[in-house]
Amino acid sequence: MRLITHNMLSCNIKGVTNGFPLKIEAEKVVEKEVDFNPDFLRHMFAKIEWKALVEAARSMGYAELPEDSPDATVIESADETFLRKLHHALLELHLEEGALVCPETGRKFPVNKGIPNMLLHEDEVKQTVCIDLRKGNEPTRIRSPKDRVLMQDVCIDLSLQVP
């Protein structure tokens, strides 16, 4: 997993409001060279969450990025010193083994062979309780997608445990 990807991932366990950025527990970091493409970096720069990138790069052993995000003049200038550092941090550092950790809950999402597994467990997913106004007191069985589609208008999202 590269940091350009990490910069987009967040924890979406039910009830979590500060799931970004994920902390990195690095067990194995590999550096892989990638062709330098300044145009791509300039195109992407505005979308990068800078503090998250700096912190993540440090966790991966790279501390060359400035603390504060440079302004546009630095990005657009002919001097590519900064862009090369950005390139290295964003694209050449790979987290091969380790974990991404939710900053709010501490839940670890494993990273194996460079691939994060962001699947939530059943109890981490928001449960939806549906009341079907059409069926009176009869417990409702969702028989068709149309039922489910209709029911979404009257569904109540609970962050409490559903028995």
Partner: protein, 308 residues
């Protein structure tokens, strides 16, 4: 059963939750087993080709590959996604082995992140990205389309190419697509649907449902909905510029072509090597053709824009 004017009892969907988990595992295992076979015979686009309607010319293998690329281009064009500068980040929901992601990232110079339930697909997708020198632009992870690991509004283009069929909860699926789209961003859903129901029609005919049920079992599809269902969901979430089309005529040559490749020597040997899920999948393909011919199955595209 008594029907009263008062509100009904609460229906707990805990049972539905654990069957959703089982479905998720089934989908992952299905694609873990079958993706390699598809990749070997058809390549990296795991979706229908787009053809001129009523074209009687039998295409070569490369003709079908081109049709699959054309499907991506036609979908982008239908959605009005043409300006390179606006597309910086793309999310590919149900990315397969990453064909669409790599193509779109290349086309727009954008960053593309794909999610799939299958670890085998994610690995293969990343390997292909590396082989094509695109690994700085595209990446793939294991995640659930119904609970996407992204902050709200991060994506300029949310792409769902033939993955909607696998979603057990269409409402939640569409809500997630919308959540992840940036204001002004676009959503493209290309999916297998059943025909729209006529006014007053509550459900498909039993024989139609039976046909779809048999397909559902083999391909790990929870249930089908119609194009209209998607449109209504998007309308309820106040999306704008909602467009949709029936492309069933434009995909007609696809399944016969897939069956032809399965019946080649290479196809048969690969199927036998791949496993039961692949074999069952191959045996189900004629049902797809029957479904299209009888007007039960439709190939739909639905696109929209999130308001600023």
């Amino acid at each position: 059963m008594t029907t009263t004017a008062s509100r009904g009892s609460v229906a707990v969907t805990a049972a539905a939750a654990s069957s959703a988990e089982a479905l998720r595992e089934g989908i992952a295992e299905f694609y873990n087993e079958t993706s390699g076979l598809w990749d070997e015979i058809w390549g990296d686009h795991m979706h229908h080709g787009f053809y001129d309607p009523d074209s009687s010319v039998q295409l070569s293998d490369s003709g079908h590959r081109e049709a699959q690329i054309r499907m991506i281009e036609e979908s982008l064009r239908f959605a009005g996604v043409t300006e390179e500068k606006k597309i910086k980040r793309v999310v590919d929901v149900g990315c397969g082995i990453g064909g669409s992601s790599r193509y779109i990232a290349s086309k727009f110079g954008a960053e593309c992140i794909g999610i799939t339930l299958s670890p085998v697909q994610a690995k293969r997708a990343n390997d292909l990205a590396t082989a094509q020198s695109l690994s700085h632009k595209v990446s793939f992870q294991v995640a659930d389309a119904l609970d996407q690991p992204f902050e709200d509004g991060i994506s300029d283009l949310v792409w769902s190419m033939e993955s909607g069929e696998h979603m057990p909860d269409k409402a939640k699926f569409v809500k997630e697509l919308v959540r992840v789209t940036a204001p002004g961003g676009r959503i493209i859903i290309v999916t297998w649907c059943h025909r729209n129901l006529s006014p007053g029609e509550e459900a498909l005919q039993p024989w139609e449902q039976n046909l779809l049920d048999r397909i559902c079992k083999t391909f790990y599809l929870p249930a089908w909905c119609s194009t209209t269902d998607y449109v209504e969901l998007l309308q309820s979430l106040s999306l704008q510029d909602i467009k949709y089309a029936d492309w069933s005529e434009n995909v007609a040559p696809f399944w016969p072509a897939v069956i032809r490749t399965a019946l080649t020597w290479k196809g048969l040997v690969s199927l036998l090597r791949s496993g039961m899920k692949s074999i069952k999948g191959a045996l189900t393909m004629p049902l797809m053709i029957e479904g299209y011919k009888k007007g039960v199955i439709k190939f739909g595209i639905i696109t929209c824009q999130k308001p600023l």
